[in-house]
Amino acid sequence: MDFSSFLLMRHEIILLAITLLLLVAEVSIANNKKNSIVHLAIFLFGIHTIVGFLKMDYGDLFGGMFHTNELIKFFKSVLNIGVLILLLQSGDWIEEKILHQQRGTEFFMLLFSSLLGMYFMISAGDFLMFYLGLELSTLPVAALAAYDITKRISSESGIKLILSAALASGVSLFGISILYATTGSIYFIEISEIITSNNLTILGFVLFFAGLGFKISLVPFHFWTADVYEGAPISIAAYLSVISKGAAVFILMILLFTVLKPLMAIWENIIYVIAIITMFIGNLFALRQQNMKRFLAFSSIAQAGFILLGMITGNQLGIATVVYFVLIYVFSNLAAFGVVQAISLQTGKENMKDYEGLYRTNPNLSLVMMLALFSLAGIPPVAGFFGKFFLFTAAASKGYYLLVFLAVVNVTISLYYYLLVVRAMFLRKNENAIPYFKSKIYMKLGLLITAVGILVIGLYSPLYNYIHELSKSFLN
């Protein structure tokens, strides 16, 4: 092993360098010029995103603790794009609300540390690296959720997130220790050779699953979601619902399909039941929400239920469809959160009632929101339809017809509440509608990228073929 093999960790090294560079910039830039840090961070991260697409080698590091392959690299790029859009959308918020408190740089540093944790988590080759990545990705987000220190609601969401996350990771650790007891190793490769289905292994698996289910906010572990999303700054809510959830979905899928494959008879049933209750509870609770952030929180719980449909298959088709769906979900959910953020930044309004008559005053924002909601609901011309369609195909190819039927029922329910927002924006008249406002250039760019993504990804079929090719290499 020579130093060039460290280049396998290129994503991680560049991101760490950016984080440290921002620390230097924080010290060396004068107080009245702090807003240049926002531009610097977005610029550096943009470069990092582009560099992430370049060709690189694949392999193992540190005796198998860290490994990369094409699909992992692609998924890291998906996360990068998501975070870049998020930074563009939250740049104005930081400039206006946070910079005068002298706390602008911390936001980027915590966000990037959390992303670094996700990189390590999804390229983990053993449970130790996985656990460290999980914690590194969770703890900074808890600090960010409590970031608005002047607001009580933000502190509350922070404490709710950190306590639930600590409990979840503790339970998951106990599960890992039981898996270690039965197999004698913490390396994924060795475990997958030894593991057999017995009572102790199943207990360990269930405890372990609970920890990751918390990150994805599957239903028995979803209670933190709505409260944290409502209280946290909107960009952090978007981060939790898109990036954090996407990374956790990816690593859970990889673990289930490779390491825990011998337990498939067990986890199939678990996922079957959890998918159904997650979809139903997420959708039914979303029906009665008035606050847009809570609304999107329950909608993201329901989306997690749909993702499980692809996960239940346990084959290559499942990997491809889930990654494709997460890619689309990144764009559609970030678009929805972006519009909520733009409106909240200008007017401070977050309720569905305030959106009435929005189309007359802010047609562009309403159109982006409509595209995002159509994509989340899965209406044909936009990308979300194809994502859901492929997920359902994957589940149906294994013969889970009842599950697919229930999922379709849930799509119908979700269509109702997504259209409630569209109706409020387009059909309702309102004397005190939100007045016309102009967003700044970053926000416009962020919303434009998401809108283009929603329209293009579904129609550009080579992308799905590409993901399908990549997923071939994964299962050997």
């Binding site: 703890l139 409590a146 503790g170 270690y180 913490i186």
Partner: protein, 105 residues
């Protein structure tokens, strides 16, 4: 290895500690006590790792290393949670769970 004590007794102990932690987390009404309960859960896993390593797989020290990392991360976790609790206390002058429920349903 401790003379006269088998792995069953120690694993029973750690399992009891684990469930005391879970029970405490669900029933305590004070944020600090909830944090202590989480520590119990984490410590149960730490002891588990060390014991399993020592009794079952003494050749490779994977479990011991794992437990060291858990201790470090648990400390970071507690520090962050305490700092958020302090920030909350500045605003509502309370660390009771029942005072942190302005967001519901």
């Amino acid at each position: 290895m401790i003379e006269g004590i088998t792995i069953y007794e120690i694993l029973t102990l750690t399992t009891i500690i684990f469930f005391i932690g879970v029970y405490g987390f669900l029933t305590r009404t004070n944020l600090i006590s909830m944090l202590i309960s989480v520590e119990l859960i984490l410590n149960a896993s730490v002891v588990n790792f060390v014991i399993i390593n020592k009794y079952l797989y003494p050749d490779v020290l994977q479990g011991v290393f794992f437990s060291i990392f858990i201790i470090a991360v648990a400390a970071a976790e507690t520090a962050l949670a305490i700092s958020i609790i302090i920030n909350l206390y500045r605003q509502i002058s309370s660390v009771e769970v029942k005072d942190t429920e302005i967001m519901k349903y």
